[in-house]
């Protein structure tokens, strides 16, 4: 196994983990959501890079016998996943706004402090 032939996955994993870290370590709700987005977008990179074919072209059929196309299936899946992601983000942001209105803050620490008393 050629070590360098997997760098795409490894970078994607590094990116995923930065996003994941922001989600669980940050106390700011909006930043958490941004982290979530980075996390998901990096998963998308993982999927898409798995669909790459050396010397391939985008999967739009052309006349010609032996054209090498990239794998279209990951693209379809990720299109769906992107949409799901934006739906989640919109909902999360709307919640963040309501939380700000109800608590006056979007920091987890402040919110906890208010709920304890």
């Amino acid at each position: 196994m050629d070590i360098l032939s997997h760098y795409n996955y490894w970078v994607a994993i590094f990116l995923m983990m930065t996003g994941f870290y922001v989600v669980i370590a940050s106390g700011n709700l909006v930043k958490k959501l941004i982290g979530l987005n980075v996390f998901q977008a990096s998963v998308f990179i993982l999927y898409i890079s798995a669909g790459v074919v050396d010397k391939g072209v985008p999967p739009i059929l052309k006349e010609g016998a032996s054209i090498l196309y990239s794998n279209p299936l990951p693209h379809v899946l990720i299109l769906t996943a992107i949409v799901v992601g934006v739906g989640t983000t919109a909902l999360g942001l709307a919640l963040a706004i309501r939380i700000k209105e109800a608590y006056g803050s979007v920091e987890e620490d402040d919110i906890h402090a208010q709920e304890e008393d």
Binding site: S26, V30, I45, I82
Partner: protein
């Protein structure tokens, strides 16, 4: 050639992601995220996923960024530093990452055209969709026909998100009172 593009884009993605972690000005973080999306979109183009690139650009750099900015206007621009820096997140993330790395060890190489992912279902789509569907863009064929049901689900997700946002933010216009019905 494409390898070089990949490496360059990956390097920039890493830099933006790290910047997004470290910044506390959320406005800058959102911009970083927007840049991140655009870079990802470019990467997708380089990886032959033009549809995905288009969508990622429109959604990540477009819709999401606008919504995030709008949220920042309504909430706070600056992130407060946390009182206690917990070690736990770092541990969790390291373990998760390590497991993922372990998982990649048996994966096929990047771009290997003999990888199983290219052999089974996808192969048939590429070879048969032309005469079965008659649409040149295979992504569209799969999206709307072979896996049209998933797309229906995707539409429902968007619908759900719309319903959710309307139920959370709709109805009470221009009222900015802090609710405190804490019973």
């Amino acid at each position: 050639m494409s390898e070089l593009v990949f490496v360059g884009l990956f390097a920039m993605l890493v830099l933006t992601a790290i910047a997004a972690i470290r910044l506390t000005d959320l406005f800058a973080v959102v911009i970083m995220f927007s840049v991140y999306s655009l870079l990802a979109a470019s990467l997708f183009v380089a990886m032959d996923a033009v549809d995905v690139a288009f969508t990622e650009a429109a959604v990540g750099a477009g819709v999401s960024t606008i919504l995030m900015l709008a949220t920042l206007v309504l909430t706070d621009r600056w992130e407060k530093p946390r009182k206690n820096k917990a070690l736990l997140p770092l541990v969790v993330v390291s373990i998760t990452g390590a497991v993922l790395l372990y998982g990649t060890l048996d994966m096929p190489d990047l771009g290997d055209q003999n990888a199983p992912i290219h052999q089974h279902v996808a192969k048939r789509y590429l070879s048969d969709s032309g005469h079965e569907i008659g649409v040149p863009n295979v992504v569209t064929s799969i999206l709307a026909s072979y896996r049209g049901y998933d797309t229906f689900g995707e539409l429902i997700v968007i619908f759900t998100a719309g319903v959710g946002v309307m139920s959370l933010l709709g109805g009470r216009r221009k009222k900015k009172k802090v609710e405190n019905n804490d019973t």
